[in-house]
Amino acid sequence: MYRSLRALSRTSRISRRWSSTQANPPPAGGHLPSIATSAFLKPTRDVSLRTPGLRWVDPVDTDPAHDMVGRETRKMNMYQAVRDALSIALSKDDTAVVFGEDVAFGGVFRCTMGLAEEFGRERIFNTPLTEQGIAGFGIGLASMGHTAIAEIQFADYIFPAFDQIVNEAAKFRFRSGGNYNAGKLTIRCPSMAVGHGALYHSQSPEGFFMGAAGVKIVIPRSPIQAKGLLLSAIRDPNPVIFMEPKILYRSSVEQVPIDDYELPLGKAEVLTRGNDLTLVSWGTPVYHCETALKMLSHPPQSIAEHVPASLRSAKVELIDLRTVLPWDVDTVIESVKRTGRLVVVHEASRTGGVGAEIGAEIQKQCFLKLNAPVKLVTGWDTPVPMVYEKFYVPDAIRILDAMMETMTY
C-alpha cells in the first residue's frame, strides 16, 4: 500500500537490534536467548526432522521412525521457508496461483523470490493495488476449485478486504448449503511489530477475525513452522488467513526439511513442560516468553532483586498456539488443569483480543483448578505507536512480571 515503506524488508534485519529479546546486557548467569539463539529453533538436521507433529506428504516408509532416512534439510530463514512452501504447493497443484501487490518481482519481503521465473507470470502475478479486489478475486478462483494464494502486503491493510473475508469467504459454504465453498483460498499477510512500523506496519489483527466462523487463522513462529503450517493452510478445505510475523522473516533461521510436509492446523505445540504455570502465546512473543523464562530462572543482575528466589525454580509450560481460530482448547485446558495458572501473551491490544476469548473459555472450563486469575500480557489499547514501541509490545520484562504476579497470587 505505501510503497515507500518497502524499505522495511531491508531494514528488518537491523531491527533485530531493537528486539526486546536482546535488550538486556549479558547477565552473570549467561546470555539471554535472542531469536537468533533461541532453543526453539532447530539448528541441525536430526532435530529438525524430529519436529513434533510433522507429517510427510510423500511417505517413503510406513514406519514414521524410518521415514526420516534420506530426508534432507536446508538452512532457511522464514521468508525462504515460505517461498519453499509456495514452490512445493505450485509444483504439485497446477491450479495453484500466487497473486497480490508486488509479488511478481519477489515481494516486498522476498517471500515470492524467483517464483515468477520458475512457474511463469500466468501463475505468479501482480494485481492492481486493491485489497478488496485481491480477496474477491481469490474467492472467485477458489469457488471454481482453483487454489488461490493471495498476499496482502501488510496485515494492517487487510481491512479493505474485511467484507470479502467475513461476509463472503467465511460464509460461502454455509450459505450455499455446501454447493460452493472458498476453501481453496489462503490469504498470507505479514503481521506484528517490526521495531519501527508504527500504526500501519505493526498490527496483529487476528482478533478481528475471531468471530468470522468459517475461516481459520494461523500464525507460525519459525521457518519449519511456517512451511509446514502454510502447506496445511493451502490444502485445508477452508479459507485460511496466514499471518507471518514479519520481524521473524530474517531473524529466525533453522534447518528446514526440504521435502513436502505438513503440520496440523488447530493444534498447539507445547514448547517447554512445566507444572507451575501455563504460558500461552503465538508469533513473535513466543521468543519474548522464552527470554522471560530464562530471566525467571537466571535473573540478570540488574533485576535480580525483583525475582524472589522461591520462584526461580518454577517450571513453566510454554504453549505456542499456532492456530488462533479454531484454537486448541484441549491442549490449553489439559495444561491449566495441571498448573492452575494461566498467562496469555499477545501483541494485539487487549480489549476484544484473542486473550479475552481464551481467558473466558479457560475460566469456564478450569474454574475449580485455577489458583490465580488468568493474566493477559498484551499490547495496550492504543494504536501501535512509533517511538514508543518498546513500551507497547509485551516484552520479556512484562511477561516476567506477569508470571511472578500470577505465581505469587
Binding site: 474467492i139 448449503g177 454447493n179
Partner: protein, 448 residues
C-alpha cells in the same frame, strides 16, 4: 492533460536518463520525438489546455442500442438478429413467466407466508435477453434480481419456491439464507449473497479460473450482474480493474433501472451512467435498451464473443426501469409518484414490445398468450402448495457447512449445548415447541 511543450532545462536531463534506461555507457541524447511521451502513458502531448468530462464529445451521452420500438417494429437501420421461431418463443415464454411468479410470491409475502421477496418487474428483457445470449455453462454471479437466468437454464419453479420457503428440498441454501438467494452448481449459478457488489471482483477470479482451465478456455466466460447502485461500491471498481488488468473473460452486465431502493440514479452518480466508466478501465463497453429483449440479446451475444475471444472484460449497461418496489420491505410510492410507474408500465413494457414483434411474424397469438399465462399460474400455485406442505430441513443442519472437514470443537460444543436445551425445553417452551414441528423429523434427532 496539460504538459509544457518545452521541457525546462532542469527536466531535460531527466528525460534523457529515462530514454537511456540508466545504462551509463550510452551517450545522453535528446529524445527522438520532440515532445516525447510520459513514462506511464502513450498520451500525445498538446499545447492546448482542454478539460473534458465525458468519454464522448462534449454535450453528448453514450447512445443506447435498440432494435425494436414500442410497437415491436425494427427501428430504422436496425439489424434484427437471426432467431428461429422456437428460440424466440422460448425467450418470450421465459420472460412472461417472471411477472406471474413474482405476482404470486409477492402476494405470499404480503400474506406472511414467506418472509421476503424481490420482484424483477420491468427487467424481464434485460435478464432473459442476456440469459439467452449466454452458454448454459457460463458461470453466472448475480446480485438478486436475476432469477430469470436460473429459470431460463431450467431450474424450475419448484426449486425457486423451495428456496423461498426454506423447505427440506431447498437445494440452494438448506434454508440458511433469505428468500431469493438462489444457487445451483449444476446450472453454474453461484450463490447469491446480500452484500452488494461482492460478486463483482469474484467474477474476475472466476473468469481467470476459466481461462486457466484447458477444458473451458475459449469456451466460457464469467458473467456478473449488478445494479446501478451496486456499481458505486468499491468492489465494482476492483472487479473492473482486475478483469481488465489481469485479462479475464468476464462479462459485466449492469442493470441500470434508475433506482437503488429510494435513491434515484441522479444521486448515485454524476457521470454518464455506468457505461462511461468502462472506457476508463480500457474495457469494451456498450449501452443497450434494457426493455428491448432483441437488443439485449444481440449486444450480450456479441459482448460474450469478444469477451471469450480476447479473454478480457466487457461491460454491458442495460437501461431499464424498476417497475416494482425494491423489495417486499419497501413501498416505492414513498419516493416516486405512482403515476410515473403506471406510465412506464404502459409506455415501455418489455413484454408487450416483444409480444408485438412475435405477433407481427405470426409466431405468437392471443390464445397462446392466455394459455401460457394460465399454465404458469397453475404451475406456480401447485408449486407453492407443495412447498407449504413440506417441512424445513432437519434442525441439525443449522450447524453444518460452517467448515469443511472436521467440525471445530467450539461448534461441536455449541451444538451439544443447544441440543441439551432443546431436550430440556423443546416440549414445554411454547416458541420452540411450535417451531420444532416445522422441521423435518421435528428435531427428533436431538431428542434421542
Amino acid at each position: 492533460m496539460f504538459r509544457p511543450t518545452r521541457f525546462p532545462p532542469s527536466l531535460r536531463q531527466l528525460t534523457v536518463a529515462r530514454t537511456s534506461r540508466g545504462v551509463a555507457s550510452v551517450t545522453p541524447k535528446l529524445p527522438e520525438y520532440p515532445h516525447g511521451n510520459l513514462p506511464s502513458s502513450q498520451s500525445p502531448i498538446t499545447s492546448t489546455m482542454h478539460f473534458f468530462n465525458s468519454v464522448m464529445d462534449s454535450g453528448k451521452q453514450i447512445p443506447t442500442y435498440r432494435i425494436i420500438d414500442g410497437a415491436g417494429q425494427p427501428i430504422e437501420g436496425a439489424e434484427v438478429p437471426e432467431l428461429d421461431r422456437d428460440f424466440a418463443r422460448n425467450m418470450y415464454e421465459n420472460m412472461a413467466q417472471l411477472p406471474i411468479i413474482d405476482d404470486v410470491l409477492y402476494n405470499l409475502q404480503r400474506q406472511g407466508r414467506i418472509s421476503f421477496y424481490i420482484t424483477a418487474y420491468g427487467e424481464e428483457a434485460a435478464v432473459i435477453g442476456s440469459a439467452a445470449a449466454l452458454a448454459p455453462d457460463d458461470e453466472v454471479l448475480a446480485q438478486y434480481r436475476e432469477a430469470g437466468v436460473l429459470l431460463y437454464r431450467g431450474f424450475g419453479i419448484e426449486s425457486l419456491i423451495n428456496q423461498c420457503y426454506g423447505t427440506s428440498l431447498d437445494s440452494c441454501t438448506k434454508g440458511k439464507q433469505m428468500p431469493v438467494h438462489y444457487s445451483s452448481k449444476e446450472l453454474h449459478f453461484h450463490t447469491i449473497s446480500s452484500p452488494l457488489a461482492t460478486q463483482i471482483p469474484q467474477a474476475a477470479g472466476v473468469g481467470f479460473a476459466l481461462k486457466r482451465d484447458p477444458s473451458r478456455r475459449g469456451k466460457n466466460c464469467a458473467v456478473t450482474y449488478f445494479g446501478d447502485g451496486a456499481a458505486s461500491e468499491g468492489d465494482f471498481h476492483a472487479g473492473m480493474l482486475l478483469a481488465s488488468t489481469i485479462p479475464s473473460p468476464t462479462l459485466f452486465i449492469a442493470r441500470n433501472n434508475g433506482f437503488a431502493i429510494s435513491t434515484p440514479s441522479t444521486e448515485q452518480y454524476y457521470g454518464d451512467g455506468i457505461a462511461a466508466r468502462g472506457a476508463g478501465y480500457g474495457v469494451h463497453t456498450i449501452r443497450v435498451d434494457g426493455n428491448d429483449v432483441l437488443a439485449v440479446y444481440s449486444a450480450v451475444k456479441e459482448a460474450r464473443r469478444r469477451c471469450i475471444e480476447e479473454g478480457r472484460a466487457v461491460l454491458v449497461e442495460t437501461m431499464t426501469y424498476r417497475v416494482g418496489h425494491h423489495s417486499t420491505s419497501d413501498d416505492s410510492f414513498a419516493y416516486r409518484p405512482r403515476k410515473e410507474v403506471e406510465e412506464r408500465k404502459r409506455l415501455d413494457n418489455p413484454l408487450v414490445r416483444f409480444r408485438l414483434f412475435l405477433e407481427l411474424r405470426g409466431w405468437w397469438s392471443k390464445e397462446e398468450d392466455d394459455a401460457l399465462k394460465a399454465r404458469i399460474k397453475a404451475d406456480v400455485h401447485a408449486a407453492y402448495k407443495k412447498a407449504e406442505a413440506l417441512p424445513r430441513p432437519p434442525l441439525s443442519e443449522m450447524f453444518t457447512d460452517v467448515y469443511g472437514g472436521e467440525q471445530p470443537w467450539n461448534l461441536r460444543a455449541q451444538e451439544k449445548e443447544l441440543k441439551g436445551l432443546v431436550r430440556k425445553y423443546g416440549r414445554s417452551w411454547e416458541p420452540w415447541k411450535a417451531e420444532l414441528k416445522k422441521f423435518k423429523g421435528e428435531g427428533k434427532e436431538w431428542f434421542d
